[in-house]
Symmetry: C2
Subunit: 244 residues, 2 copies
């Protein structure tokens, strides 16, 4: 079944069963021209803000689609929230992490300008980078038919993470940490997983983070790539928090 | 610290502390010429069969390396074993799964010629494909400094999986399954995770597998890409089996 999203900002919060929902823009054009969605076919439309409606296509043409709302699902955001603080990394390793973590259910993503991040988002690149990650998160949400698209924050340096994530328990993935994420006692606080770049978290950076209350934790006995660590941690925590 | 592997087939089983281990071939050449390993520097050499030796470099030159064994670690294979049966998939999605699952500790990998696998390994391509996955598993083991490199089987069609994996509990990842992997009761049997291609496991294929004793299980509430599902399942099971 095809699954589409409304344009960013548009919401389905006020829609009720039996209503007709219209979709325009590139999403609808793609559905009509590439995915060849047909009259009468059942499709899902989400707003990425908790609501997904499903129903048959009533009109389709010239890049417009209308469906009748036969089914309506509203989801509350999951609690406690899971945040991925992913260091900017070489190649597409950071983007792979964003994609997989979104499929696995992460709630919020913070691009982390870490001490050893080789890739830098500066000046005009900063907003472009954020938008690119937001698009990846949106596409991955669609692929996995998620009701909520994770929000992507602006790139944040180490010194500003504790303030940005006030009230959230900060866990720094660090292969040499004594405590394992699998054994960690969890409570009601939202959790943020900090995943360093390929070169790891720098010594002074780790000291600064722990001084601000962050806890170093290990994920298994091996050293993981930056694209593997975050998604694996999200999988483990989703199971431990009873989301799965 | 640099980490190298002996050529495939060579073993460190008979080595003792104080011995000198010599390494030749492309691995040693790469260490000397690219990674610029120096005399006196501590490096690790593994055989991928459970033994890793660590010690200072005694000789280095012309693509040869010798180290003195200062430290010697022998690891038993983990039990119960975790097997990833990964469907051949489009793009590099199957290879990404092999890479991440190896970092996370998978013990054996079976390339699965599934009903909906678009990619096919036939004729001369079959052994080439297997070798490519074996190389990816070896490189990923090195990256994560694993004592054991997972073995990669030949590509296997659905009908032959139950025989190949006799004595192993078969779990088919299927988004519509009622039982979740997170809730599954585990015992001493080795576990094989079957991950279908992008189009999923075909209906008749699933019926055939369940008739042979395989159990459909779900991983979370969303639909996952083939590159995400296997690594996430390995992470979850590693934690549940007390490996992490």
């Amino acid at each position: 079944m095809a699954s589409l999203y409304l344009d960013e900002g548009a919401e389905l919060a006020a829609v009720a069963a039996g209503d007709v929902v219209r979709l325009g823009g590139p999403e609808a054009r793609h559905a009509v021209q590439v995915a060849r969605v047909r009259l009468g076919e059942r499709i899902s439309i989400g707003d990425g803000r908790g609501t997904v409606v499903t129903g048959p296509v009533l009109e389709s043409g010239q890049g417009e689609l209308a469906i009748e709302v036969a089914e309506l699902v509203r989801e509350q955001p999951a609690t406690p929230a899971l945040v991925l603080v992913q260091a900017l990394a070489k190649g597409d390793r950071d983007e792979l992490a964003v994609q997989a973590a979104t499929e696995l259910g992460v709630d919020r993503i913070v691009p982390w300008a870490a001490a050893r991040s080789v890739s830098r988002w500066e000046g005009a690149k900063a907003e472009k980078g954020r938008q690119r990650w937001a698009t990846i998160a949106r596409e991955a949400s669609k692929q996995s038919i998620r009701a909520w698209v994770p929000e992507v924050a602006a790139a944040t340096p180490t010194a500003r993470l504790p303030e940005l994530l006030a009230g959230t328990r900060l866990l720094v993935l660090e292969p040499t940490a004594e405590r394992g994420l699998a054994q960690l006692e969890l409570d009601e606080r939202p959790l943020a997983l900090l995943v360093g770049p390929e070169g790891g978290v720098a010594t002074e950076e780790l000291a600064r983070l722990t001084a601000a209350g962050a806890e170093p934790v290990r994920l298994g006995p091996t050293v993981l790539r930056t694209s593997t660590a975050g998604p694996a941690a999200i999988a483990l925590l989703s199971a431990r928090l009873g989301r799965w």
